[in-house]
């Protein structure tokens, strides 16, 4: 193949690819995570891989006795997996905040709370008992729903 033909084909690959798949800047954060998870390694895996790569660079700087440029440290901290504890206070606080917000994240909106009454002889309940039980379940459900919406 001639060099000019190859160059023309390479340009076509880049432009046709954008025509078919669009501009990545258009994706929302949620869509981005979804596309990543469904088309290859998960977002956590790709983040961890870059974290390890930057960690090596930081170690190389230190081994050679050179100061580590702050941008490397900042980038590494941003990518640090939640399972690893940061070494400086500021990063540790940021890490903890991320961890807590992950824990406090509201459950998916379509999650329905299932209540399971602990009765040994549920079959023996009278109609009145059943009505009281149903009302209690309803009250609990609406309270749970209220908490979720706050």
């Amino acid at each position: 193949m001639k060099r000019e033909d190859l160059e023309k084909h390479l340009k076509e690959i880049v432009s046709e690819s954008e025509t078919l798949f669009g501009n990545v800047a258009e994706l929302t954060s949620e869509e981005l995570l979804e596309v990543l998870a469904e088309t290859g390694a998960s977002p956590a895996e790709i983040r961890d891989a870059l974290y390890r790569q930057l960690d090596k660079v930081v170690i190389e700087f230190r081994m050679s006795g050179k100061p580590v440029p702050p941008r490397y440290l900042e980038a590494r901290e941003q990518l640090r997996p939640l399972s690893e504890v940061p070494q400086n206070v500021e990063a540790a606080q940021r890490h903890a905040r991320g961890w807590i917000s992950e824990l406090l994240k509201a459950p998916p909106t379509n999650a329905v709370g299932e209540l399971a009454p602990e009765f040994h002889k549920k079959a023996a309940l009278t109609e009145e008992d059943q009505r009281i039980l149903d009302e209690a379940i309803e009250r609990l459900r609406s309270r749970m729903q209220g908490n979720r919406n706050e």
Partner: protein, 205 residues
């Protein structure tokens, strides 16, 4: 502005994610158009290419990001990624030509050699394979999925470039457009994998 200040507000998780998606799109397109051998020989995967772009911009030697010049970080790095990707195919193509020359003990005209070399799928030596339009490949991949066929037509034939334009044209939500793009990416990757297995006679992806 110092090199350190330029990245202060950058969300690296987001940047890495977007570059990785773009790299996966480019690799899928190139494989579909017959450059799978060249990419395999270059020895870099899409996720690795995206990482290397971020490492290079942080290094601030070969890739220098200057926010004062107007481009945002994602746009700038997407261009860097596309250039690196093109270099990667050039490198893979050169390696392929060397291998074919060694394999066939031919002295010249490697592009005409019908002999498969190390990795085989579409015949990279055949220039015709590379001229296949992505539109046709995408249509083939979308066969049996009318909604995807509609999307390919909207993207290639109706001049709808942005997600919003395409959504309007097809009467669906922008999120549905993203969903269709994602499905096409998966289908193209699947077809490229199947083609490689068929020609290579191996079960490995």
């Amino acid at each position: 502005m110092s090199a350190d200040d330029r990245f202060k507000d950058a969300d690296l998780n987001d940047v890495l994610g977007r570059l990785t998606v773009r790299a996966r799109q480019l690799f899928a397109t190139a494989r579909a158009k017959g450059y799978a051998n060249a990419l395999a020989r270059a020895g870099v995967d899409p996720d690795g290419l995206a990482r290397s772009v971020i490492v290079a911009v942080l290094e601030d030697k070969t890739v220098k990001y200057r926010p004062s010049r107007g481009a945002n970080l994602i746009t700038f790095l997407s261009h860097v990624l596309e250039n690196d990707f093109v270099d990667l195919i050039r490198k893979g193509t050169r390696l392929e030509q060397r291998l074919v020359t060694l394999d066939s003990t031919a002295t010249s005209h490697t592009e005409e050699s019908p002999e498969p070399t190390v990795v085989t799928d579409l015949p990279d030596g055949n220039a015709g394979a590379r001229r296949i339009e992505l539109r046709a490949i995408a249509m083939h991949a979308a066969k049996g999925h009318p909604e995807l066929e509609d999307y390919v037509t909207a993207a290639f034939d109706c001049g709808a470039v942005t997600r919003r334009d395409q959504a309007e044209l097809l009467g669906v939500s922008p999120a549905e457009i993203t969903n269709r793009r994602k499905q096409l990416l998966k289908l193209l990757n699947r077809d490229a994998g199947q083609a490689a297995r068929k020609v290579g006679g191996s079960d490995e992806a």
